[in-house]
Structure formats: C-alpha cells, structure tokens
Symmetry: C2
Subunit: 340 residues, 2 copies
DNA sequence: TTGTATGCGTTATCAA
DNA sequence: TTGATAACGCATACAA
C-alpha cells in the first residue's frame, strides 16, 4: 500500500541508489533518468518514511544545547518539564539534549553559556534571549552555522529558526476584555508591570489599553507601576499605587511580583474587593486564585514552549525542515478557580 | 551513548536473539542467563528504540477504523482534522486509517457501520458511541479482541481502552463561575440544554448549578428547556422561556441549537442585553462572539479529541501500551472575542 | 536452549 | 553516471 524507494527503483528499472540520488537531489544522474524517476515518484505519491530516515541519521549523534533561566523562577518549571518530555521523545532519534540552568538575566553570563555550549559541540541552541545587542550579534553569528530557537522572549534583531512563545499583544487584549466583562460601570485599574524595557510586558499593556479604549470606555487606567519582577519592589510600588489612587477597583499584573503586590493589597483590606488579573500560574498565583483573590490568570503554555522549542530543532536536524512560520505562537489559556 | 540489544548481547557473551528472548519474556532461556542478562540490561538502562521497533512491526499492516458523526455537524470538522493529522503521523508506522462519516445518532446505523469495519478487517475502532444497550453490548463484545476508544461521548457500560473527551462536569463548573463573574447582583439564568437523556449535557448543568449554589447564590435558575440539538425546536423553546420568564438576564446553552436560540433572543431585542455562555466554536457561535452577542464559549478541544483517539490506538497497536488512565480528559479552552 | 539470517526503508560508502 | 552492499535497532523464522 505504501510506496518505497525500492518500489520506485523496480518500476524505473534502476537501483535504489539512483532513486535516492534523484529524490534527494544529490546530482550525478542522467537528466532523462532524473525526470523519469521524479515523475514516477510523484505519480505514486512517494512520501519518505521518517522512521527509517531517523534510524539512519541516528548515527550522526546530534546534540541540542539549551539555556534556561529556571533557577529561582517558578515559571520555568513547566518549561523544563516540556523540555524533558521532548528530550525523551527524541532520544530514539539519537539526539541528545544538554541543559544549562541559570539564574537571572545577565547578558554576559548568557554569552558565556552560549560559548560553553558551542565548545561542547552542540548542533543547535534554544534559549530565552536577553534583549541586548551583544546577544543579538552573537545569535546572528552562530545562526549562520547552526539553528537557533528563541523561546518565551523574542529578539527581533537576530536571525533565528523560530520564536516559540505567546502573542503578548493578543494576551493583553484578552486581559482587557476579561477585565471589561467582570468590572462594573465606573472602574479604575492600576497596572503593575515588570519592566517598561521589556517588549513583552509593554505589549501586554498595549493590548489591554487597546481593548478598554475601544470597547470599555468606562474603564480608566489610573497609573502604571514598575516592579522589575521583584517582590519587595512590587510590594512598595503597589502600596504607593493604592495610596495615590483611592478609587482603584482593579489591578492588572503584566508580569511577576504578584506576591509582593498582593501583600500590599491584603494589608489595605482590599482582597476580594479589587478585581485582579495576572499572567501565568506560579504557586502563589494558584493559591490566590483558590482563595478568590485573583479572578483570572492567563497562561502562556510553559510546558508547550519547552516541548515545542526542542521539537522544532530536532525536526530541523533530522529532516532539515524549518517550521512553516518563524513565529510560533502558542494559544493562551484562561484559567480561573474551576479549571486551574 | 545509547544502549542497544547488540551491546547487551556482547557484554553478556550471548547472541542478540537470546537477549531479545529475555527482554521480551519469550521464555526458552536458561534461568541463570535470564537473570544475568536482565541485570545487565537494567544496569545499563536499556530502553528499546521505538523507531526500530515500529519499522519492524510495520509489516503487520494495521488498520484503524473510525466512525464519526460529522455529516451535518460542524463540531466534528475539527475532530476530523485531528484524525487526519494523526493519520499522516502514523502512516510511517504502516498503520492505515479508514473513516466512516455518518449523519445523526442512530444506534442501528452505528451498529451496521461497526460490522462494516469489522468486515474490512480493522484492528482497532474509535467512535462516538450512542448510549444504548445494543451499542454497549456490541462494544463489550468486540473489545475482547480489538481495542476500542470512545471519543467525545462516553459509554460507561462498555469495556474499552479509553475515553477521550472533556470533563463535562468540570466544564459546567467553569461555565457557572464565568457566569457568576460577569453578571450583576440579582440574576436569573435560563438554561437551554440538548437532551435530558444525554449524560454530558446533564453533567454540564450539574456543574453549573453546583458552582452558582455554592458561590453565587444571587443567581437563580429560571428554567431548563430541551431543544434536542435541533435549531427550530431551540428557537421555539427559547422563545417560550423568554416569554415565561421576563426577568431573565442570562442564558446558558449546554449543547447545540444556539442558532435557533439566538434567533429568539434577537427577535425580542435582547441581544447584548442578556449574558450568554455556550459550548464549542461552531461558525454560528464564532460570529456571535464577534458580534458581542455571546460572552464566552467553552471549547472541548475537538482537534485533540480526534488526534488523541487515533494516537492512543496506534500506540497500543505498535507497542501494546494502554494509556495510563482510561479517562483521557482534555483541558477545556475558554474563548472570547479576543482569543477566538 | 541458543545462534544465525533476513528484512523493515533509508542513507552512505564503496566499487564498477 | 550507476549499482551493490553495509548499517541503523529490532523482531522473526529457522537452523543448530
């Protein structure tokens, strides 16, 4: 029922080797034969068997290198699980995965880790790139020779095989729409963001603003506070925000620092009074959804981010196929108490 | 780096055949050798290569039969896409898929199709079982010899390899919570369900009721109308519901018939006034979310239902591995305008 | 009770 | 420019 190289060889009256050369454009075949074989192949609807292919390329012993900022950041726990799952899946292909875990976002440190991976002879790299020029340059450089995937955070200046993550603008819009639906008429919302220098955080604000301006004009944005993803800072700026804007009825956290922010909320006895929307599902966020303090959290598929990143690279290594689109946006997930 | 049968054979000083016999418990091996080889294998962390395995079992030419009620029911469009995707994925394994599309839910018709598939020599079957005794009996019967997967709708009386679908009770709870969050204080909701005989529909009502009774006691359920998933009936019962309960502020559709129901809503100029929550994302529902008539729709991953069902069966055929749990619940997806 | 040969579909390395 | 052969890891039929 299925058509193989041997079958085509038989029908064309040549050897399998010749068919292979034609089908994979290796040259050194008489043009007339080329055409004849190609015709027969397309006519029969030849589709190479990926399994058999993989079994052969297995000998190449590919190695994928990963840099993940998972130390001290629970968001990446699930990303790591996805990476491990993909790692298990592709081990049959003889592809190995080397993971470097790191804490925080230091460009020089990231640069060093990239060099370490290269020294280890990796054939591909996946990482959450820091938006700085030296990183962009480095990635541009190495992506000449090996495929690079950016996950979770994009770096538009650098050439790469793919970006795997969420559509920040869209998730901001969704947050805005949810906020619009759960708030009563006159509503003032305070925004607590990670960093105004982070592209993703800003896009989440943009999308949010876009929706409430166009569809929920009775919602006002009181202020935007920056917490640099730090809990203590978050506590302080949230406190200040609440003091400066007594009429606030809702909070919108675009990034981390939710624990600190909620501490300020609780101190002022505003839990269960303010509507609160956050991103991701860290343990702190989960428990506060359980308690009814947070109304919604919007998740960006951490597990799939990890899994997909590795899978995209292994697919590329094993069959040379790049993903259809450079930007692989994973659907967001709206979570509340009953589907947490 | 990776450990193979040959490597184990070499280290044990026996042939590959013997190792194979031990590792797959085929017997006919001296007990002492058994133990020795098993020890070496576990010590080295032997993991059989699924690719190579599949390449061999490929010769068996497995055939999976599918019965899908997709004719005239757009919900199953995406299920079909998932099935097609899985079909492409497993073609490398030499597993073929035969799909029988049918309109409506007639038990005798379903029975006939099962027999047709069996006559065609299928090695596995996936279907959306109708909850009637003759079907349950039939499935119990054939699941003695081949694996059976129920997708989208479960049939608890019948033995099967797995059920693939959503947790209806949980999605009902989510609907209830969403309703609670978007409605103002005194709220009366009308429920339009498919059939009170359908297990899934009832569970969606139960979950909904459970949440509003425990957490949103200011919401009242006015009435429950049955539309048998028929548009015209749906129009009529919704109209009646709205006439009988002038104070209704929200509608909850647990199943199909949304188009007819909304026609009644629009006729009475209640669009954009009533809060409306539905399930799935048929074209009609999509367009009404766009228009702002429907607030939320809760999707049950139709694509994944199709994909997973086929994948579970092929995994079982190729490696004899049953899924970890009989009930494979796919996460629900909350959709509104901005993430449709 | 054990070992050997053959094949799954592909690629790679020879030799012709 | 072509063809034959070995190999990837496993399973099976057959031989010893």
């Amino acid at each position: 029922l299925s058509v193989t190289i041997s079958k085509i060889a038989e029908l064309s009256g040549v050897s399998r080797g010749t068919v292979d050369r034609v089908l994979n454009n290796r040259g050194n075949v008489k043009p007339e034969l080329q055409e004849k074989i190609k015709n027969i192949a397309t006519e029969l609807g030849y589709k190479p068997n990926a399994l058999a292919k993989a079994l052969v390329t297995r000998k190449k012993k590919y190695l994928i290198g990963i840099i993940i900022n998972s130390v001290g950041n629970h968001f990446f726990d699930d990303v790591l699980l996805g990476i491990e799952a993909a790692k298990a899946d592709i081990s049959d292909y003889g592809i190995h995965v080397m993971i470097k875990k790191v804490k925080g976002y230091n460009a020089q440190k990231q640069l060093d880790l990239i060099d370490e991976l290269l020294a280890d002879g990796v054939n591909a790299i996946a990482l959450t790139p820091i938006n700085e020029d030296i990183i962009a340059q480095k990635l541009n450089d190495i992506s000449q020779s090996i495929p690079v995937v950016a996950f979770n955070n994009d770096i538009e200046q650098a050439h790469k095989l793919a970006f795997v993550g969420c559509d920040y603008y869209k998730s901001g819009k969704t947050a805005g729409e949810l906020m619009g639906k759960i708030t009563e008429d006159p509503c003032t919302v305070g925004i607590i963001t990670g960093s105004l220098k982070m592209l993703g955080h800003n896009k989440r604000i943009e999308g949010f603003r876009e929706i409430i301006e166009s569809e929920y004009s009775d919602i006002q944005i009181a202020d935007i506070a920056e917490n640099n993803d730090d809990e203590q800072t978050s506590y302080e700026v949230t406190q200040q925000l609440l003091i400066n804007n007594r009429d606030i009825t809702a909070l919108y956290f675009t990034a981390g620092g939710v624990e600190g922010g909620l501490r300020a909320v609780c101190e002022r006895n505003l839990a269960h009074k303010l509507k609160i929307i956050t991103f991701d599902a860290t343990p702190v966020i989960r428990s506060n959804i359980e308690k009814g303090v947070i109304d919604f959290t919007i998740c960006q598929r951490p597990y799939l981010q990890g899994y997909t990143s590795v899978k995209v690279l292994s697919d590329y290594l094993v069959s040379g196929i790049a993903p259809k689109t450079e930007n692989i946006y994973l659907d967001i997930e709206i979570k509340l108490k009953s589907n947490l």
